[in-house]
Structure formats: C-alpha cells, structure tokens
Symmetry: C2
Subunit: 263 residues, 2 copies
C-alpha cells in the first residue's frame, strides 16, 4: 500500500549546504533522506516545497515523501527527531492524498528576513540575523517594500539565469504551456511589510511563489533605499523595467527564514 507523507520541519541553515542533496555535502534533504532510511529501510528522496540556499533557515519547511513503512505518523515525529541532528526538528508528519507534492501543491509561502540594528551583534545571534549597524533611513526602507505587492514580473529580482531565454523559446516552440508557465517570472505578492522591534528590522513577505534569490534581492534593494542610494520610487521603476542590474545586491543568506508553506 504505502502512504504519501507531508513532513513539516525547522532547521538551522548555518549547519547545511542548503536544502538540495549534493554528493559529498551535508544538506537538509540528504540528511532527512538518510534518517528516513534508518527508520524505514527505504531509499526515498523527500521533495521540499522549494530549495533553500546554504545558510538560509526554515521555521516551517514542508517535504513530501512516499513510504511503504506502516509506522504511525505520530511515531514518525518521535523517531525522526531521535535520529536527526538537533539542527533539524520535525514538528509534524501527516498522511496526505497520493497527489500531494510539497512543491507543486504549494499555494503560498511566507519568508522573513531579520536585520540586527544594534552596534554589537550578540554572538548567539550571529548565524541568525544580518548585522547592519550603520545609519539608515529606516522609514524609507520600510516604505520601499510596499510597491512589490500585487502581480508583477519579478525578473529584476531573480538570480540571473543565462539559459532562461533559450529554455523559454524551446518551450514555446514545443507549445508546452505548462513549461512556459513554470518558466514565467510573474508572481503574486500578497503582503510585503517591515516591522521594527527594539533591536531588529524584520521583513515579512507572503506570495504565491518566489524566484531564486528573490527575497534576498528585494531586501538588498530595500537596503539601498534605506542607505539613500535609491529612492522609494525607484523600486517600482526597477520592477517594471525588469532590470536585474538596477536592483540591489543579494542580501546575506543568514538573515533569511522560510516561515511557512500553505496548501
């Protein structure tokens, strides 16, 4: 028979070379696969809702995996946390319909980015925030995030992909609408907001999907507004021009968290 399992997990990204399995490197997906094998004896590769890069954290990453093992779901949580390193914690395991796929079935995702503003970053936060202690127009930074809400082509904030145009053309020639759709850089952002705590600036963004490096490139651009190198009104201009070179640099991985995935 077997069951399709939906696994929700948190991890400290500073201990891994990202989500995706890579030969000879310690990754979250690879570690989870090894631990599933230790429990079930099965060779499986859990599919994540998306890759996270090296250093990027997760509070609520979701993975799906089909297993033959009859172990009850609640025991899976205990067994997995028993064999996983403390830097990965599984919060729930649920049996779901066979058609469920952590990436393809995802309807929305929420990311968070933490910037520590104090002069001296506590050693206990060094892996978990981006430290930016220099003077900044925080009000401008906070307002600069508003214009990305809505349906936009986010090419300006995507990691550059030199092969993308060739792949798009090939898909169009094949009249493969689904592949063209997947290659599109159009995404819907439902909310995009900064908040200030005593010591931190925290950005939270929720949308139907995110391009590679998109949240970090947005934050890098908002930071340029905070520093006065860009104006608030430059953000929608860069977005409309789909001009990656006009946007800011990719902000450091350590500040980024995948908060949750909705289905």
């Amino acid at each position: 028979m077997g069951r399709n399992l939906k696994i929700t997990l948190a991890y400290d990204g500073s201990e891994f070379h990202g989500w995706q399995v890579q030969p000879g490197l310690r990754t979250v997906q690879g570690t989870l696969a090894e631990c599933l094998k230790r429990i079930t004896g099965e060779d499986v590769l859990p599919q994540g809702s998306g890759r996270t890069d090296a250093g990027v954290h997760a509070l609520g990453q979701v993975a799906s995996v089909f297993v033959e093992s009859p172990i009850p779901e609640s025991n899976f949580v205990i067994a997995l946390n028993d064999v996983l390193p403390p830097s990965i914690r599984v919060s729930s395991v649920r049996a779901v319909r066979d058609g469920f796929h952590a990436r393809h079935s995802a309807k929305a995702k929420t990311y968070r980015y933490r910037i520590y503003r104090g002069d001296i970053c506590p050693p206990f936060l060094a892996r978990y925030v981006y430290h930016e202690p220099y003077p900044m127009n925080e009000e401008a930074l906070m307002r600069s995030s508003e214009s990305v809400v809505g349906i936009h082509d986010f090419t300006a904030f995507a990691a550059s992909d030199p092969d993308r145009n060739a792949r798009l053309a090939a898909a169009a020639e094949e009249e493969n609408a689904s592949r063209v759709g997947r290659l599109s850089n159009v995404r819907t952002i439902h909310s995009s907001q900064w908040m200030r705590t005593e010591e931190e600036l925290i950005y939270t963004v929720r949308g139907d999907g995110f391009l590679h490096h998109m949240v970090r490139n947005l934050v890098g651009t908002f930071l340029l507004v905070g520093k006065g190198s860009l104006k608030i009104s430059d953000v929608p201009t860069i977005l409309e021009a789909r001009d990656r070179s006009a946007a800011g640099p990719t902000a450091a991985a350590c500040g980024l968290y995948l908060v949750s995935v909705e289905y």
Copy 2:
C-alpha cells in the same frame, strides 16, 4: 608606560574548547590573545575571571591584560570586534589600576542555566539550552535551590579532585594561609533561584565564587529532585555531608552562561 585593560566580552561557547588556551585547540582565551596581537603587535595572554568549560557560554566574561599600545579604549572595542570571529563580541574595554586582576579582584559572579521544557527544542536553541522535555515536579525543583544560599563548604558539588587533600596538607605544612584559603571549598551564595518562562526553566545563582563544575553539579542535583529521585530536604543533607557521590550528575555544558562578574 602601558595600561592595564579590563575587557568585557560575550561568547558562544559551542564554538570553542572552553576559555583556557590549549595547544592546537580553538579556545576563547587563545583567540582573544591572537586578536590582541594582530592589533597591538604584543604577545600577551589576557587573564579571565575564571575558566569556562567547552560549550559553556558567556554574556559578560571579564578579562584583564596589560598592554603597551597607546590605542584609545573605545577604539579597542571596534578594532577587537573587527578581527574577532562573530562568536566572540567585546562590549567594553576600560583602563583600570595596575593591581586589577580579572580573577583575583572578582568580588561576585552570576551564572545562569537554561532548561528548555517544550517537547521539541527549536533548532536555533539547540546549542543554547539543555533540553529536558520529560515530566517533572517543577515546584520541587524550584524549591530545592533555596538551601544552598549562605556560607557552605561546597565539596559535594565540586568536580572531584584526587590531588586536593595532598595539596591542602602540603599548604598547611608550609603554613601558607593564602594557599589554604584558595584551596578551600567554602563559598558564599548570595542568591539561588529558579524562574519559569513560557518554555524554559531558568536558574540564576550569584555568589562570591564557584568551584569547578559547581553550578552544573547543583543543577544536576536539583533535576534529581524534580524527577523525584531526591527529596528537597536531601539537598542540605548532601551539602553538609560534603558527599560528591550523593549529589546529582554534572548537567550539560550547553545550558550554562557566565552572566556577569562584579568587582
């Protein structure tokens, strides 16, 4: 001329083999010495208020060091944080009288121990708390810490030292009162108290000095009271009997913080 400097620093103990310099190992003292050398060119060994073991953290460790360099104190903070790893942060550098010594001049110290009580310990806390999710009589644990307040011989809670009696006898034979005093296991505890937050049990203890492993051995004993293996009234009995073997095991290093040192 030169100056005696008092350096206050925090560190993430999980990244170091303890405070004390050891050949071939990454220690806090060794790293601080290397960074002082990079800034001043001087070969110096900063003296800590006390050693912390591998995995033990510090919020306010204090070190003293005599330097010839004329660099102003406030610049020392910036220069040190520039060359130190993010897992060590210097919060202040002050010139003090030549006779000041971080260990010998210390009047009181405060330590904290954090126990995470939730079922699943977040991966971001794994290095910074001791995870104890099992059922426990928390009220008994909390009350068990009261009897250690006051002046006591803490031999029952000291790391066992097989050579200690021989060293004491030798010092007494020499009529070396200062050495006998230093070898005494009598300490004054000013306060010893547990508090409960939403997810944690936090122990804070302040005293004029602490023996090696003393806080961790106290916590290990209080935990036995919480688990019902010892009664609250057993704690003063073990203390009076100076019986290390009747006390609890040494609690894990990762939960312990040196909070501050008073002079």
